[in-house]
């Protein structure tokens, strides 16, 4: 990212240097605030960040809001429900209206893939993609990489040689796509594990291996990332039943025991407990990083906001 970039639209736009810069900045912001009474830093005083959310979200919206507030920016939250969107206003008109009110950055979540890219063509401020349809969710990939680096690489450098299994509903997952792009940039080896019906067309071109068999992928993995089964995006039957899915692709205690000693279990949330991940795995104090991921999300989003908005306007 660094001084040259104005937007964060895709994890694929980041090169190794830019990605490591974001992770390093996040570490430093995290250390700067650790143990403090006043969890606030001044660099974005007087800047306005708009959270433009067309899709339901708890953690991402809250996380961006906290991140912006901790850097002293003013935050406007906008959700499609209860706004002019329900009167039929287009994305473009809504964006131009918000910009006319002086937004320096727009954080957008939208159910259409490509919405963030379109928005970036219309507004002058920075655009941060907080999830567009089944396409990308770059800050989630960054917080996942941050969590892996902290747990398994001492919080420094890249992720060279790290073996990551991403398991489940890859087809509907913007988290998977962004993670594959970013992890490849950072030097990790990724294997996607899913039933054939939940792998997207063209997955062969992704910088990742694929497998249909979870049991064989687990022993060699340092990280297992479980994806949420996105039933709200499923109009057809992608697997026979929830029970069958859980048996073939769910992470339970038996499967967790196949992992190496230091391996960690991740999930972007929200979880379907008992479906893709068993409750005892999700709550495992040693391996599960699910709560940590949420905490790290604030630091990583602070880093992104600082790097996009902290310097001079061009």
């Amino acid at each position: 990212m660094s001084a040259r970039a104005r937007h964060l639209l895709s994890a694929g736009d980041l090169d190794r240097t830019g990605a490591v810069e974001i992770l390093d900045t996040a570490e430093r912001l995290d250390h700067a605030l650790a143990g403090r009474e006043v969890k606030k830093l001044p660099p974005l005083r007087g800047r306005t960040v708009v959270n433009l959310f067309y899709e339901d979200s708890t953690r991402t919206r809250t996380s961006f809001e906290l991140a912006a507030k901790r850097l002293s920016a003013d935050v406007v939250n906008f959700s499609a429900k209860g706004s002019s969107v329900s009167k039929g206003e287009s994305l473009k008109d809504t964006a131009l209206t918000l910009e006319a009110m002086g937004a320096d950055a727009v954080v957008i979540r939208h159910s259409y893939s490509g919405a963030a890219h379109r928005l970036a063509e219309w507004v002058h401020g920075s655009v941060i993609n907080a999830g567009d349809g089944t396409h990308e969710h770059p800050t989630q990939a960054l917080l996942d990489a941050f969590t892996m680096r902290r747990r398994l690489r001492g919080g420094e450098g890249d992720l060279a040689g790290l073996r990551v299994a991403i398991v489940g509903d890859v087809l509907h997952s913007r988290v998977a796509r962004s993670n594959v792009l970013l992890l490849a940039t950072l030097g990790a080896q990724v294997i996607l594990v899913a039933p054939p019906t939940l792998l997207p067309v063209g997955v062969d071109a992704w910088p990742a291996a694929t497998s249909f068999d979870l049991d064989s992928a687990l022993p060699g993995s340092d990280v297992v990332m479980m994806l949420r089964v996105q039933r709200e995006r499923m109009s057809a039957g992608y697997f026979p039943s929830a029970r069958e899915y859980a048996r073939r692709y769910g992470l339970d205690a038996r499967r967790m025991a196949m992992l190496g000693d230091d391996a960690i279990v991740m999930h972007p949330g929200p979880m379907n407990r008992g479906m893709e991940i068993a409750a005892e795995v999700a709550d495992d104090p040693k391996r599960s990083t699910i709560v940590e991921q949420v905490t790290n999300g604030v630091s990583v989003r602070m880093a992104v906001l600082y790097l996009l908005l902290g310097g001079a306007d061009e």
Binding site: E21, D24, R28, A32, R36, L41, P42, Y306
Partner: protein, 191 residues
Amino acid sequence: MPSAALTPHDGATSVLDAHDVGRIVDRMAHQIIERTAKADPGFVLLGVPTRGVPLARRLAARIAAFDGPAVPVGSLDTTLYRDDLRLRGVRPLAETVEPPGGITDRLVILVDDVLFSGRTIRAALDAIRDLGRPRAVQLAVLVDRGHRQLPIRADYVGKNLPTSVGQTVRVVLAETDGADAVFIDDKVGAR
């Protein structure tokens, strides 16, 4: 690893060598013991990155070597508190590490390599305010080159160096640059 910072390029004059820097740090350590350590043994040293941090560590080591107290050392990044943050491209952050035991109710001695406009120290004072409430704050600098833009002065000065505004003072240290020295560059340097 010798770095480019070591080679005095065109227009650079070496004003202090490694021997001078060592002697100055020793003198400052003695001064801190005489003026502060006896009256206020619970003080901490807070280095301003980049080169204030190794300087603070050296001062702590010399104070201990001269039978002074064991002094906790921390580092304080001032980047996010600078008043010129918006005037240039975004800057990388340096590490902030609170000294063991924190700073609240203690005497804090800020340590930096060069005192110039005073704006870094103003930013450091703001940053300290967010970390806690020290009993008092003092300032130790290796070089005071003048041209203050704010009402700030140092309590401990290693070397007063008369300069003109257009010159650049470069401090290099073994920890960050491979060797100790201070240069004056006539041309506007990398800083």
